[in-house]
């Protein structure tokens, strides 16, 4: 189906189901209940899951396949964001041109940075990309202020010379982003008993783009091009002496992942037409590295899982404060309640980074293949349990293959 084998097609189908049903899946708790604070089914956050998922899928094409660790990919997301907002200021509030131009501009920018950075490999490559991203960040704040809006960021205004459409709506406000008339902020709310589900137009646009982006990534993974990228990671010497030039392959991977980042940036401003330089800061580049490794670098679904997990923690864990903690532990005797709150407090709210750090460490040490490896191990455990009753097969070697930690 769609040029995919059965396994990949079912993976695509699973992702399609998860994204399409996300408003239900992410809102398991009834409105007004204590657990409702763990609900993540509101448009803002769902959009972020999907947009960062796209960012990480693209990053994984570079890092997961070729092993080149870029520490500057947020620069492409930032550049894509600026390009998108400019399209809205100058051309139209329709998101399609904005997204397309974001991808193209980020792609061009990544040709430049990739061409220079890929002259080196390993840590030097990482540092070069980091340096370029920080330079872009600094430029956006200083000399490029007319283009980027400097510290306030680039935003729409009431006197944008929009060619298609109006500068000001009849009610005197700035027009909103739309897809051929369908406003991105449009939402349909569904009340079912105590539950409230929100279906947001913007989210579904992002989700469809994610599915296309994911589909393209699967095709790349299974293509000769994808195999060459894994060859780059494995043995560049052998590649050269097999008549292949690793350089253009690596550059192509770099540019493709840069375009994915631009796509994410374009979607971001399509949902909320505001672009700031902080999007290019090195911590933003570091975040996508974490997402990819946490989920499982080089796996198809890993980056999406990693992005979801980190964005969930950032938005949900960080909201919990000491009042909420006190409520949770209220059933305990006062002394113990205070002690528990004191113990847990550093890990929540602003301390969510600490929790993330610990989880990241645990994953890297115990599950080098990321969450995907965790899932595989659990699946293997179940499979073994199912097969056990069959008894040993006399035609097979009785000894199971020794499990070597990878």
């Amino acid at each position: 189906m769609l040029g995919l084998n059965k396994k990949d097609f079912s993976l695509l189908l699973i992702v399609a189901l998860l994204t399409m049903l996300a408003p239900f899946i992410l809102n398991p708790f009834p409105e007004g209940s204590e657990l409702a604070q763990f609900n993540a089914g509101y448009p803002d956050l769902m959009q972020r899951f999907v947009i960062f998922g796209i960012f990480a899928i693209g990053f994984n094409i570079l890092f997961g396949l070729t092993g080149y660790l870029s520490f500057g990919h947020a620069a492409f997301l930032g550049v894509g964001s600026y390009a998108g907002v400019w399209m809205m200021k100058l051309l139209t509030m329709n998101v399609i041109p904005a997204i397309l131009v974001s991808v193209i501009v980020a792609g061009l920018f990544s040709i430049l940075i990739g061409y220079i950075s890929l002259r080196r490999s390993g840590i030097y490559f990482s540092i070069l990309t980091l340096a370029f991203a920080q330079m872009s960040f600094a430029l956006a704040y200083s000399v490029l202020t007319p283009l980027t809006g400097g510290e306030t960021g680039l935003q729409l205004s009431l006197n944008d010379p929009r060619i298609i459409g109006t500068s000001v709506t009849e009610s005197g406000s700035i027009p909103v982003t739309h897809l051929f008339g369908l406003e991105m902020r449009d939402s349909f709310e569904l009340e079912m008993g105590a539950w409230l589900f929100t279906f947001n137009a913007g989210y579904y646009v992002c989700a469809v783009v994610l599915l296309v982006a994911f589909y393209i990534a699967i095709r790349i993974f299974r293509s000769p091009f994808g195999m060459m990228l894994r060859a780059v990671k494995s043995n560049q010497q052998r590649m050269k002496y097999t008549g292949l030039n690793p350089k253009p392959y690596t550059l192509a991977a770099f540019v493709i992942s840069g375009m994915y980042a631009g796509l994410a940036g374009g979607l971001m401003v399509s949902m909320d037409p505001l672009a700031g330089a902080e999007r290019m800061f090195w911590t933003a580049s570091g975040e996508v590295v974490l997402m990819t490794i946490l989920g499982g670098a080089g796996t198809l679904i890993g980056p999406i899982l990693g992005a979801g997990m980190i964005k969930y923690m950032e938005n949900i864990l960080s909201k919990i404060n000491s009042t909420i903690l006190h409520e949770w532990f209220a059933f305990m005797p006062d002394g113990i309640e205070d002690l528990l709150v004191t113990l847990v407090y550093p890990f929540i709210g602003k301390g969510w980074h600490l929790t993330l750090g610990i989880i990241f460490m645990l994953v890297v040490i115990f599950l080098p293949g990321g969450l995907v490896e965790g899932g595989q191990r659990i699946a293997r455990l179940f499979r073994r349990k199912k097969e056990e009753p069959k008894g040993p097969d006399p035609e097979h070697h009785p000894k199971p293959a020794p499990h070597v930690a990878e």
Binding site: R219, S234, R238, Y241, L244, N245, Y249
Partner: protein
Amino acid sequence: MGILEVKGVNKRFGGLQALGDVNLSVEENTVHAIIGPNGAGKSTLLNVLVGKLIPDTGSVMFDGQSVLGRSPHEINQMGISRVFQTPEIFGDLTVMENVMIPCFARRDGSFRLHAFETVFNEKALVEQAEQILIDVNMIDKRDMHAASMSRGDKRRLEMAMCLVQEPRLLLLDEPTAGMARADTNNTIELLKEINEKRDITMAIIEHDMHVVFSLAERITVLAQGTPLVEDTPENIKGHPKVQEAYLGQAHG
């Protein structure tokens, strides 16, 4: 004129003269062995041929075209493949993928953005790759992780990767080192067959005299970076200079 003409090649590493005025001519469709004691400069010579090293002086012509100044992938695309002294394979990939890569390289050249094809839908290439795995007796290891194989198997895989390209000149740096006796004999048979059936010229570096004398039609003896003699195997066996420089040493 041979298919490969090396003239007056010199290469120094600091104070060490690794290659000193090397002249070598390999005739098309022959098996040419290069022997010599450790450190004689045999691998260095191959490095010059495949573009890994640039000689200080001299010329290297392959099929009438200069090899010098070209990058390794261009030289390979001209038709020169090399098996390394320590196997160079794609360890993270499966055996089948290892063989598919040279198939694509041969069909599509040094770079192509074939991002929307599917590797294993390329029936013609899959057949080629499977055939070569059958030829080197590795088809049962088709889906194995290449890095997890024995050294001998890695060597055979590397050879398969070179052979599937059907190069015009195959350079082999100690192809049987680390192989069991039976595998060595299989390799000799395979190389013989390939030389006869597919018209592949071979230059082979080997310490195992059994392999050398079973395969080679010409032998060049290299010592301290300079060719001592070049002759037929029969004449080399009895040559006093060779006895002294190489065989004598080996027999103590």
